[in-house]
Structures are given as structure tokens and as C-alpha cells.
């Protein structure tokens, strides 16, 4: 297998043209999967034997929560890559992905609160999983705030990279919070390695929504990064040519 395409991803120019071809398909594929999974899950999947129909919010809650964590992991890895190899594309990933991650964490918190009201009878408890996801949301907001208040681009890149790397410490806390602390939140509902504990009719739509949301966010991320690349590389000749030939 040739890895050249992978190395090329580090070049803003190459990434720009590569993502131009892939962003729309990824987004549309994700949207179709998500809508299919949601319709299937909300209308046709069987209700839970304990929680009844309120379990259906899982089809929004779990994908959003998974993405919130994956996005932060990506942020942290990009931060480390930038600190070590100074790759230009890494801070662009951080700048474009942080708001998406914040939105996902927010969706996870809101849907979790609604689900909690239906099943636990309360909007919020100071449970380890809930609190650590709230912290995740604050970390995203910190990264975004830092990005926007530092005018010096080089400093902003370094600063967000550092905070992203340091914030990685929160991820294992979220992941194992339901294992380490015996709290209200239930254990993981969704793993790829083990046989699902729920019936396949409930598990499949969930799989669809998860894949769909990942793919959709991938598409949105590519679009956001294209904007970011145009902004940051506006002095280069290829950007000038691109804008002259095709417009914005």
C-alpha cells in the first residue's frame, strides 16, 4: 500500500483540492445515513423494556457524545503534531474542529438532560460522566476563546495546540468515569469490539446514526478547513489563481 496520499494531506494546497472532491459526498452520505437511522430509530425500532419510548433519544445522544470525544481526541493529536513537527495543517484542524466539537458536546449535554428528566426525574445530577462532559464543553470553549483573542497567528496556533494537548487528560476521565465511579449514568451502550447488549433492531439504527454523524461532520470539517486554508494561505499564488479562476 502506498502512503503518499497520507503524507500529502499535510500540504494545505493538496488538502484543499483533495477535500473539494470529498466534502460533498461525505456530507451527503452522512446526511442520508443519519436521516435513515433517525427515522428507523424514532419510528420503527422497538421501545426499551424498561425505559419505554424515552430511550429513543439515544439515537441523537450517543452519536453526539461519541463525536464530542473523538473531535477532542483529534484536537489533541493535531496539537501534538503541531508542537512536534510544526505542520501547517494541524492548527487549521484545531481552529475548524473546535466549534464543531463544542456543538456536539452541547447536544450531548442537552439531550442527556432531557433523557435524564424522563428516566431519572431530574435535569442534572453532579455525576462523574455528566460533569466531565461539561468540562469537555468548557475545554472546547477555552480553545475557541484562545483562538479568537490572540491576534498573533503564530502565537494563537501554539496556544491552542498546547491547550488541546493538555486537555487530553480529560478524555480518559470521561471514558472511565462510569467504570471508576459508581454513579447514575449507565455504562457504555455502544462498542464495536463486543457483541451489543441490546437487540439488533435497536443497535442497527444507532450504528447508522453514528456513522452518519461522523461522515457528516467529516464533510463539514473539510468545508471549514477549506475556508481556513483560503484565509491563511491568501498570499500564495495557488490561492490567487484558484480564486481568480473559480471565484470564492
Amino acid at each position: 500500500m502506498r502512503w503518499v496520499w497520507f503524507h500529502k494531506l499535510g500540504s494545505p494546497k493538496w488538502f484543499f483540492f483533495w477535500s473539494k472532491a470529498w466534502a460533498l459526498p461525505a456530507f451527503v452520505f452522512g446526511l442520508v445515513c443519519l436521516v435513515m437511522g433517525l427515522i428507523w430509530g424514532l419510528a420503527f425500532a422497538p421501545p426499551d423494556y424498561q425505559q419505554g419510548d424515552s430511550v429513543r433519544i439515544i439515537y441523537m445522544h450517543v452519536p453526539a457524545a461519541m463525536l464530542a470525544q473523538s473531535a477532542y481526541l483529534t484536537l489533541g493529536i493535531s496539537g501534538a503534531i503541531f508542537l512536534v513537527w510544526q505542520m501547517k495543517i494541524a492548527p487549521m484542524v484545531i481552529a475548524s474542529l473546535a466549534p464543531i466539537g463544542a456543538v456536539m458536546a452541547f447536544i450531548a449535554l442537552v439531550t442527556g438532560a432531557i433523557w435524564g428528566k424522563a428516566t431519572w426525574g431530574t435535569w442534572w445530577v453532579w455525576d462523574a460522566r455528566l460533569t466531565s462532559v461539561l468540562v469537555l464543553f468548557f475545554l472546547y470553549m477555552g480553545v475557541i476563546a484562545l483562538q479568537h483573542s490572540l491576534d498573533d497567528m503564530a502565537l494563537a496556533n501554539k496556544a491552542t495546540a498546547i491547550i488541546s494537548v493538555v486537555g487530553l487528560i480529560n478524555l480518559p476521565i470521561i471514558k472511565y468515569s462510569v467504570v471508576w465511579w459508581n454513579t447514575l449514568h449507565q455504562g457504555a451502550t455502544f462498542t464495536l469490539t463486543e457483541k451489543p447488549a441490546m437487540p439488533i433492531e435497536m443497535w442497527l439504527p444507532l450504528l447508522f446514526t453514528v456513522i452518519g454523524l461522523y461522515s457528516m461532520v467529516g464533510g463539514v470539517l473539510m468545508w471549514r478547513m477549506q475556508t481556513e486554508i483560503l484565509l491563511r494561505e491568501h498570499r500564495t499564488n495557488w490561492v490567487k489563481e484558484e480564486v481568480m479562476n473559480r471565484g470564492l
Partner: protein, 220 residues
């Protein structure tokens, strides 16, 4: 410049600006006073909450001091001198934060008997609180220094440091107050203190390097 001359210079700077330390202590005491006045002055409320009150006030006071720790050095050019001095920057950072830690924490511990009376802390928990402050605050200083170094070039960086760094303090405050509460109900508290120590050691490894990177980025 040697490591030793850097250290003595830092000590001298702290000593000549004693008023800053006094201000921190006053701020700390005022925040502590907000809780009995604002919520409930009865012992029933204060005794279980004492550890949390002291730790909240301490976190805020420390964050206020640490936010400006590199400000003067940035403006008078000392930061650049450190970067080009040929000395290993992370060690300089460690020394700097260490001096700050001593300068703030020692007076804080000295007024702690008074404070613990103010918040009706039970006697058996007093030493646990002191211990939790001793093993927990290094990580508070070290993490705060990263934020301070990142925002040193900004005029109004205090709010940003709070926003960026406070999330990292939540585990510290959870374990510190758990230790104090466990000692009040007669449960073992060594595990919580060990976790606090672990966090301090982890930030001891990570923070000087991150702070050094941030300082270098801010200077250029």
C-alpha cells in the same frame, strides 16, 4: 545568569513586592467571608462545606496571582533574556513557579488556623485540609502558569486564563474536598491525597515544558 542567580533574583522580586502577597491573602479571606454571609452562617452548613469554601477561595486567589506572573517580565524584556540566556527554559519556569508557590502558599498556611475558625472547620479535619493544600496547590500553580504564559501578550488576559484553566482545576477541587469530607466522617482519606499528589507530579512533568513553549511563542 545562572540558575542560582535567577532563583535569588526571583526571591528578591517577590520580597520587594510584599504588598502583592498581602493582597492575595486579603482577597482569599474576603472570598471565604462571602460564603457564610451569602449562604448561611450556621455551623450546620459551614462545617461540612468548610473544605470546599477554603479550596474555592484558594483556587480563585491563586489564579488571580498566577495570571500576572509573567506580565512584568514580559514588559521589561526579562522573558526574552531568559529565552536567549542559554539556560534550560523549563527549569527556569519551574524555579519561577516554585518561588511563587512558596511565596503564596506559606502565608496562606499560616493564616489557615484563623480561616478554619471562620468557617467552623472541625479540628480533626484541620491537618487534612493543610495536607490537601500542600499536595494539591503545586498542580494548581503549574497548570495556571501554562495559561499565564499563553496570554502574557494580551492586555486583558485574566478572564481568558480563567476560562482556559479553570476546567483543569475541577478534578483538584473534587479530590481535595473529598479528602476533607472523608476525614470529617471518619473515612480513610489517604487515597484522595494520593490522587492529588499524583496530579501535582503529573503537572510537574508536563507543565514546565508547555510553559516554556508558550513563553517562547509569546516572545517571538
Amino acid at each position: 545568569m545562572t540558575y542560582f542567580s535567577f532563583f535569588t533574583a526571583e526571591c528578591r522580586v517577590v520580597w520587594r513586592r510584599k504588598q502583592d502577597i498581602v493582597n492575595v491573602l486579603l482577597f482569599f479571606t474576603l472570598v471565604v467571608a462571602l460564603f457564610p454571609l451569602g449562604i448561611n452562617p450556621s455551623v450546620d452548613f459551614l462545617a461540612p462545606a468548610a473544605g470546599g469554601i477554603v479550596w474555592c477561595a484558594a483556587l480563585l486567589a491563586i489564579l488571580m496571582t498566577i495570571e500576572s506572573v509573567f506580565k512584568d517580565d514580559f514588559h521589561d524584556g526579562s522573558l526574552e533574556q531568559w529565552v536567549v540566556s542559554g539556560l534550560f527554559l523549563p527549569i527556569l519556569m519551574l524555579l519561577k513557579i516554585g518561588v511563587q508557590w512558596l511565596a503564596v502558599i506559606l502565608p496562606l498556611l499560616l493564616i489557615m488556623p484563623l480561616i478554619s475558625q471562620m468557617v467552623a472547620l472541625p479540628d480533626e479535619s484541620f491537618w487534612v485540609l493543610i495536607l490537601s493544600l500542600l499536595v494539591g496547590t503545586p498542580s494548581v500553580f503549574l497548570m495556571g502558569a501554562i495559561g499565564a504564559a499563553l496570554t502574557v501578550s494580551l492586555k486583558q488576559g485574566a478572564m481568558l486564563v480563567m476560562l482556559v484553566i479553570l476546567p483543569f482545576y475541577l478534578p483538584v477541587i473534587i479530590f481535595a474536598t473529598s479528602a476533607v469530607q472523608a476525614s470529617q466522617s471518619g473515612l480513610p482519606y489517604h487515597g484522595f491525597l494520593a490522587l492529588l499528589l499524583a496530579m501535582s507530579l503529573l503537572s510537574l512533568v508536563v507543565s514546565p515544558f508547555m510553559t516554556a513553549i508558550a513563553v517562547k511563542a509569546s516572545v517571538n
